[in-house]
């Protein structure tokens, strides 16, 4: 019998199997791209190459902030730790075996993009030790990122700090630039100019084997992107002036803001006490953060832009300007001052000075009576239908000075201050049933009025400029960018006409010549200033002072607040005047009086007892 025909069935079977397999291959290789994606996930790794973050320098090109590498110990995912001498590894990175297991578990949970963080911010010593033996521990690798370090223990409130991106930031970002674990500016300049400072990350693609060991570059680096370093940033700060001021404010709670009135550039911005910026970089933050938060003197609080203080007598020049502009007084107006201002049965005290007070003298000797009268004249003026209308007009003048609103500075934590609506007094006293007598303390800067030091410095700049200002800012120049942001190049005009300023400035000059600050005046520099002693219901008075100089061609406008210190003339004015001199005449020979003044200020400890920190043990006892 011939069974040859049976061969043909087998031929058919062979062709059939071949066809099935070829179709199956077509399905998994061509039609279904799932496998390609999985393969890339498994064997392709993207390494991010972090750019150098832009350096930060002061206006004189002195380096303030630079980069320092930090090393993250990473694990390749999927995690396959085989043949690893775990105890030796633990010894190398100085952890316990249980900690190793804990971190491994955590790494498994937090894996993303084929990698997981095993230990963040490994120290340089451990990095060096482990790096040369890393080949023994397949699957582990280092990722290098840039942390910040600082040339000066200074300016922390301006500089701000970096931090790891939060989940919120990650989800709300619009351009999907950041990845989990990236650093970004969290505060201060680092945050405001993040876009310029950060540069552009680069990428490099490579293959890994099943242990995560690099097996070569993907497609000869065709997909790789070189990182672009960040733009260097020049601040308007003068680091010498900044540090000089920080020294004067040592052991005091308070703030100094110095501006260049011609440009709005911030020359110095001090909030005391402050923290060492180096303690707040990525590597050290965790060690110091809680400590700084618990400090009752609030070193993290940026008083310069966040703390509203009643301006006290430093408000008088503003009140004078409004009175003049509004027609309530004239440059020649005199008011008699018996040493007090009588308001029905109430008496508002004044200081001892000559009875018949001119506008200029009222500023020089800080006469309360003069301003009570001015304020009353304005509030009761026939121009206005009622007190509310007059108040609103007064308020409009102040708003044109940038008060009661955020100026829009590039310093973190800005507060708008206190400037109440008329409705506030309606609620307090009943609509229509309040008049000037209820709010007369506003005329000399007390009551429901709060100005941040930067607002006060801006007022000094406005007077120096005779009626206009530029929004204060710390950015001086961004390397590679032609101009600073537009909002810092816009001239803001106040409602006061330039000629109105002359008598007020003459009065402010008198403050240093023969007025309240005469004792701390600086020879050879015409400083126009105004002292203030701010009533503080919680303790001693705050010392306040604002000034600009030289009066004939102002180059610096300054405001100083020293909390719970006493008289403005004693504590705030000398700090400001010394700083003005330091800035205008950095090479001047130091006179004996001046060095005495400096020493007195530097050594004074004005932090009230209640703010001295309790020891840790007594805290625990609580």
């Amino acid at each position: 019998m011939n069974f040859r025909f049976r061969s043909y069935y087998i031929y058919v079977a062979v062709v059939f199997i071949g066809l099935i397999y070829i179709l199956r291959l077509l399905e998994i290789q061509v039609l279904d791209d799932k496998y390609s994606l999985i393969a890339e996930k498994i064997s392709l790794r993207k390494q991010t190459i972090y750019p150098q973050r832009g350096l930060i320098l002061d206006r004189n090109k002195k380096l303030m902030v630079y980069n320092e590498p930090v090393y993250d110990l990473m694990l390749s995912v999927p995690i396959k730790l085989q043949d690893i001498d775990t105890s030796e590894f633990c010894r190398l990175i100085e952890i316990e075996r249980t900690e190793f297991d804990k971190r491994l578990e955590k790494a498994k949970k937090t894996a993303y993009h084929g990698k997981a963080i095993f230990t963040k911010n490994v120290s340089n010593i451990i990095f060096a030790r482990l790096q040369e033996r890393l080949y023994e521990y397949k699957g582990f690798f280092f990722e290098i990122r840039q942390d910040r370090n600082y040339k000066y223990n200074s300016s922390s409130h301006v500089l701000g700090y970096l931090g790891e991106i939060t989940r919120n930031d990650l989800e709300s970002q619009q351009e999907s630039y950041y990845e989990q674990g990236d650093f970004m500016g969290k505060n201060g300049i680092e945050k405001f100019y993040e876009e310029y400072l950060r540069g552009e990350k680069g990428e490099s693609y490579f293959y890994v084997d099943k242990f995560g060991v690099n097996k070569g570059i993907y497609k000869e680096g065709k997909l790789d992107v070189d990182p672009k370093d960040g733009n260097n940033l020049f601040l308007s700060l003068d680091i010498d002036l900044q540090q000089y001021g920080e020294g004067l404010l040592d052991n005091k709670m308070g703030s100094v803001v110095a501006l260049d009135p011609k440009t709005g550039e911030i020359l110095a911005l001090i909030s005391s006490p402050f923290f060492d910026p180096a303690n707040f970089n990525i590597q050290n933050r965790s060690k110091h953060y809680a400590d700084a938060l618990m400090d009752p003197t609030k070193p993290m609080f940026n008083r310069a832009v966040s703390a509203p203080y009643p301006p006290g007598s430093t408000f008088k020049p503003i009140m004078a300007l409004i009175g003049l502009q509004d027609g309530a007084i004239y440059p020649e107006t005199h008011f008699g001052c018996p040493g007090y201002y009588r308001l029905g049965r109430r008496i508002i005290k004044c200081h001892g000075h000559t009875f018949n007070t001119s506008l200029e003298r009222s500023i020089a000797s800080s006469c309360n009576t003069y301003y009570c009268n001015t304020f009353k004249a304005m509030m009761q003026s026939d121009k206005y239908a009622n007190t509310e209308a007059a108040y609103n007009s007064w308020r409009n003048y102040l708003e044109s000075f940038g008060l009661g609103q955020e100026l829009g500075v590039d310093v973190s934590g800005e507060f708008k201050g206190w400037l109440k609506d008329a409705s506030f007094y309606d609620r307090m006293h009943g609509k229509g049933s309040w008049n000037y007598s209820r709010i007369i303390s506003l005329s000399f800067g007390q009551g429901e009025l709060g100005m941040t030091p930067i607002q006060m410095a801006n007022v000094a700049a406005i007077i120096a400029n005779r009626g206009h200002y530029y929004t204060p800012h710390v950015v001086h120049r961004i390397e590679g960018v032609n101009e600073i942001p537009e909002k810092y190049r816009v001239k803001h005009r106040t409602m006061i006409s330039p000629t109105t300023f002359d008598p007020v400035i003459r009065g402010m000059l008198l403050v240093n010549e023969s007025g309240t600050a005469a004792g701390v005046s600086i020879k050879g520099i015409n400083i126009a200033g105004k002292t203030g002693t701010v009533q503080n219901p919680h303790g001693k008075n705050h010392a306040a002072y604002m000034a600009f100089a030289p009066a004939e061609n102002p180059r610096i406008a300054i405001a100083v607040i020293v909390e719970e210190a006493g008289y403005g003339a004693t504590w705030a004015a000398p700090i400001a005047n010394l700083m003005i001199e330091h800035y205008l005449k950095p090479d001047s020979v130091e006179g004996s009086s001046r060095s005495y003044l400096e020493t007195r200020l530097r050594e004074a400890n004005l932090i009230p007892e209640k703010f001295i920190r309790k020891s840790v043990t007594s805290l625990n006892a609580d």
Partner: protein, 417 residues
């Protein structure tokens, strides 16, 4: 009549294509970006063994065309002795005692057992008067097949033992009742259905089916009785399969079968190989990632990627074009060999060449099938491509023996069926 030896050009060409592909694949799977050359390492060894095997094969052409027929039983006997020897002097690799160490070379007798058995089967079937209807002949045939199978199972290498099932095709070609094939396929079907749906559902289904048959044919007792017998037998088989699966099979064997049938997904355990293998092949796309550029191959993600899973490298680096091309080459080679078998004038040669073709067919089906996830993982090599001295040596020598037999077909005068 022409008496000159003429080697079959088509089969030789196909073989050389496949063998060359094999060397490139082994090179690609082991090279670390040019750390060593083609002539070192595994690809170098592969070339050496291929060279030796081709040399031996060419020597065959100097032999008398009846040499193999005369020495069939001694060759079979010698290889069976090796299979016995390996049980005593063999060394264990991967849980199987299949290798005899000779210096630096490990010989795997089970690879040569197919070759030897093909001789014995050819000799037995071409004995004058052999018939599948004679019980004595069947017993002899079973002994010839089951002896090497049993010895290989004793070594712990079930995969290699299964290859002997491919002789069923040879027997079928030579006159074995197709009932056996149908029976074999039915058993596999019952096995698969039982594992997927369980023996209980299978039994219920069979009883319902029996009821249906009964309802239509209750007058015809001639159909009823065999139906009942078949139903009972299949139910018993299903129950025993369940029992076998639950109690006899080892855990890893169960898992391999379950993974193949998609009953469980275990990409980190038993299914790891297949999953990685599918990823590697699947990521090849139309034309692959290019020679030496397979990221999965380079990353050593697939265990046994130079041996049992060599097809991954083809699929990943050559894409669909090369992988289906490879299958096409094999299909053409197998068909050509069947054709050569059928044109042989002597039954002995026909059976022998037919055996080679069927063994290649079986290897191709199982090996490629497992890498693309439609066959369970059974560790047998892809002929001429997988790395392994014994495999390359035995298959190439097998191939040349077949080529020699075919080349001298004109010397044979008789034509038997």
């Amino acid at each position: 009549m022409q008496t000159k030896s003429r080697i079959d050009i088509i089969a030789t060409f196909l073989f050389l294509c496949i063998a060359t592909l094999g060397i490139s694949c082994v090179y690609s799977a082991t090279s670390e970006f040019g750390v060593f050359s083609l002539f070192e390492g595994r690809s170098g060894k592969q070339m050496m063994f291929l060279g030796i095997a081709i040399f031996i094969g060419l020597v065959f052409f100097l032999l008398n065309s009846n040499f193999f027929e005369l020495f069939s039983w001694p060759i079979y006997g010698a290889i069976m002795l090796l299979l016995v020897a390996v049980l005593f002097v063999g060394s264990d690799i991967n849980g199987a005692r299949s290798w005899i160490k000779i210096g630096s070379f490990s010989l795997q007798p089970s690879e040569f057992a197919k070759y030897g058995t093909a001789f014995a089967v050819s000799a037995l079937l071409s004995t004058i008067g052999f018939s599948f209807s004679k019980k004595a002949d069947i017993v002899k045939l079973l002994l010839v097949i089951l002896l090497p199978m049993g010895l290989i199972i004793l070594q712990g290498d079930t995969g290699s033992a299964l290859v002997f099932a491919s002789f069923i095709l040879v027997f079928y070609r030579e006159g074995l009742s197709p009932l056996l094939l149908v029976l074999g396929i039915s058993i596999i079907a019952i096995f698969v259905i039982t594992l997927i749906y369980g023996s209980l559902i299978f039994s219920v289904a069979m009883i319902v089916l029996l009821g249906v048959v009964f309802a239509f044919t209750y007058t015809n007792k001639k159909i009823l009785l065999p139906s009942i017998i078949i139903a009972v037998l299949t139910i018993l088989l299903s129950l025993s399969v369940q029992f076998l699966f639950d109690n006899v099979l080892q855990e890893h064997q169960k898992k391999r079968i379950q993974v193949t049938l998609n009953l469980i997904e275990d990409n980190q355990g038993a299914g790891y190989n297949v999953n990685q293998s599918k990823i590697a092949i699947g990521s090849g796309g139309w034309s692959g990632k290019g020679f030496l550029n397979g990221s999965h191959t380079k990353g050593n993600f697939i265990p046994e990627q130079t041996t049992d899973f060599i097809f991954c490298t083809i699929g990943e680096e050559g894409g669909w074009l090369l992988s289906s091309g490879t299958i096409l080459l094999f299909v053409l080679l197998i068909l050509r060999l069947y054709h050569m078998a059928n044109r042989a004038k002597k039954k002995y040669k026909r059976v022998f060449i037919f055996s080679l073709a069927s063994i290649l067919f079986f290897h191709l089906t199982i090996n490629v099938g497992m890498t693309i996830g439609i066959m369970p993982v059974i560790g047998i090599p892809l002929p001429f491509i997988s790395y392994g001295g014994s495999s390359i040596l035995s298959f190439t020598v097998f191939m040349f023996t077949a080529l020699k037999m075919d080349a001298s077909r004109d010397e044979d005068l008789t034509s038997e069926y």
